[in-house]
């Protein structure tokens, strides 16, 4: 009896969380598509969805829909990457930034912006991406390669060495980016805006690329949910429970790098989501990665989609960088949850 109820309770809780977040996702995407300076009514939008042609078609489809989808995918991808890395390193400060992805991507993007490397043709031919995005993708992955290489002793990558190496390599790439900006002042503004993150340039090509990268990588991360739970017990324990910590760490670092570099390449650097979203959701769902990872994806998507909608519609025609807005709204909420947990609420 006890076991029946324990298992059922877990399932029920998981279903409620996931369904709630799915419904919220739908409304977040609907809001993102429907809300904008070209005002139109939800009814009109639904009419359009079911009957076809409408005057809103162009704005909806060419601009708002890909933008909504892209912000949703990036939010989900960053949250899953952050959640995995926090688990792998048992470090609440971990997210893809500490592996050097952002700094490397920033450098790659800055270099492409400043030097106009390769022209547009190469990048577009490769992935349907601009050359800046491609530069960011390569830069991000290159940075992680450096970080892991410096932190490696034989086959083993130690956590503390990895964190330190990540900080060091990040600093190096940030310095290089600053150097480029000073030497090429004409491109400074563009680089700065890129590093603040934005979905202004969203397109269906970018959505397709992001979906092809982010969805499979996120799904693969979720395959590692149970090993991730066990890794929280520490390396020696995990080994004796049938989880190879070296292999698991390597696989997850690879997957999260792909995820984060993919996200950053289409959106620029969006902070906060990867670090704090998983914490926020952990406070609500508990620490089990089998539930936490899917919820992180959905929650991250909802959060960034809403943040981006606000970012573009608060002070039209001015756009607030989405990273600024996500921090402004997310941090107070996160701090509130943290306080509540400290006072003995559901942790």
């Amino acid at each position: 009896m006890v076991r029946q109820s324990a298992k059922t309770a877990l399932r029920v809780r998981a279903c409620i969380s996931v369904i709630t977040l799915l419904v919220l996702s739908f409304f977040a995407l609907l809001l993102a598509v429907a809300w904008g300076s070209t005002g139109f009514k939800v009814r009109e939008f639904l009419e359009y969805l079911f009957t076809g042609a409408s005057s809103a078609e162009v704005i909806l489809f060419k601009i708002r829909l890909p933008r909504a989808l892209l912000s949703y995918l990036v939010g989900g991808g960053l949250a899953v990457a952050g959640c995995c890395l926090q688990g792998v390193f048992k470090n609440p400060m971990a997210d893809s930034h500490i592996l050097g992805v952002s700094a490397g991507a920033g450098f790659g993007a800055a270099a492409c912006i400043a030097f106009g490397i390769g022209g547009a043709s190469f990048g577009i031919a490769a992935f349907g991406l601009g050359n800046v995005a491609l530069g960011a993708l390569i830069g991000g992955m290159l940075a992680v390669l450096f970080v892991v290489q410096f932190a490696r002793i034989g086959r083993r990558v130690s956590t503390s060495a990895l964190l330190l190496s990540g900080i060091a390599v990040s600093s190096l790439f940030t310095a290089l980016t600053s150097g480029i900006m000073i030497l090429h002042r004409e491109s400074m503004e563009q680089v700065v805006f890129w590093t603040l993150g934005s979905f202004t340039a969203a397109s269906f090509e970018k959505v397709r690329f992001a979906a092809l990268l982010i969805l499979p990588c996120s799904a693969l991360c979720m395959v590692f949910a149970r090993p991730l739970n066990i890794m929280l017990l520490g390396e020696e324990d995990a080994r004796m429970l049938g989880v190879d910590p070296v292999k698991t760490t390597r696989m997850l670092v690879l997957l999260t790098t792909l995820l984060a570099a993919g996200c950053v390449s289409v959106s620029g650097i969006v902070g906060f989501v990867g670090l704090m979203l998983p914490h926020t959701l952990r406070l609500m769902t508990g620490p089990d990665h089998r539930l936490l990872l899917p919820c992180s994806f959905l929650g991250g998507g909802i959060f960034l989609c809403l943040a981006d909608t606000l970012a573009r519609s608060l002070f039209p025609p001015l756009e607030i960088p989405v990273g600024v807005l996500s921090a402004l709204f997310g941090v107070p909420f996160f701090l509130y949850l943290l306080r509540r947990q400290g006072k003995g609420g559901r942790g």
């Binding site: 520490g234 080994r239 004796m240 429970l241 049938g242 620490p287 089990d288």
Partner: protein, 258 residues
């Protein structure tokens, strides 16, 4: 009788510094074996060489007929469970969640826990007296309860050998007795073999079938408690003066304090 665990001429070095020298040991099915020795004598290192966490420089470790180094971590975990010295969990899993982690070596990557796994976890919880606390967050447990949770996890793993690294070091005497009785009953009733790093000489003498006494990485003596817990051997191993009596049918050591 074939032994469940065989350690043959095992040596281990940190750099050039020898930690273990030529240690041999055989553990039979259902046997409870203790490893005793002074701090830094290599007890935990020996356990880690046996678990394959450290690679010995020389010598062999076999579980049944198989070399430990040849097994994948999953295959190894099906045959060997570890109760570590001071396990840490900072996330608020329930007691049952932690115990169920012991089923991981028996599960395929894509499949979830089945009724069999839940039943094994429940049996382990009952065995350790933790069934009433099954749905409590592990962050709220006392030291004794947490230790019993970890032992329940090891039981749930259903492996033939259990390695315990100072399982009673941080517990009060009531819980020390409880835990060691439990381990002994696992050996007697379920045929599990247990290899236990210990600090308390008298507890080891009472509960063990066999004791391995280490001194600076070398096996000073190995055998039944009566042959190992003797005044001259204790003097050599720990550098203390002690009187050894027989209490409750087992050797009992009283050290000279002043």
């Amino acid at each position: 009788m074939s032994s469940r665990l065989t350690v043959e001429n095992l040596s281990f070095f940190y750099g050039n510094r020898p930690i273990l020298k030529n240690v041999s040991l055989a553990v039979a099915p259902g046997e409870l074996v203790s490893i005793l020795g002074h701090n830094g004598s290599g007890k935990t290192t020996l356990l880690r060489c046996i678990s394959g966490y450290l690679k010995p420089k020389e010598g062999a470790v076999r579980i049944g007929e198989d070399a430990v180094s040849s097994l994948s971590s999953k295959a190894l975990a099906r045959r060997m469970a570890l109760v570590p010295q001071s396990p840490v969990m900072e996330f608020d899993f329930t007691v049952r969640d932690i115990v169920l982690m012991g089923r991981n070596p028996h599960l395929k990557r894509f499949s979830g826990e089945t009724e069999t796994d839940y039943a094994a976890a429940d049996a382990a919880l009952v065995r350790t007296g933790m069934d009433a606390l099954a749905d409590r967050s592990v962050l709220t447990l006392s030291g004794g309860e947490w230790q019993r949770t970890i032992i329940a996890r090891a039981i749930c793993q259903k492996s033939e050998l259990m390695l315990l690294d100072e399982p009673v070091a941080s517990l009060d005497i009531k819980h020390q007795i409880e835990i060691l009785r439990l381990v002994r009953s696992l050996c007697r009733e379920s045929g599990v073999s247990a290899l236990c790093v210990m600090h308390d000489v008298n507890l080891s003498a009472h509960y063990s079938d066999q004791i391995l006494l280490l001194k600076q990485g070398e096996a000073l003596a190995c055998g039944a408690p009566g042959s190992v817990i003797t005044a001259p051997l204790l003097a050599e191993a720990y550098g203390i003066e002690a009187e050894v009596r027989t209490e409750q049918g087992h050797p009992y050591m009283i050290p000279r304090y002043d």
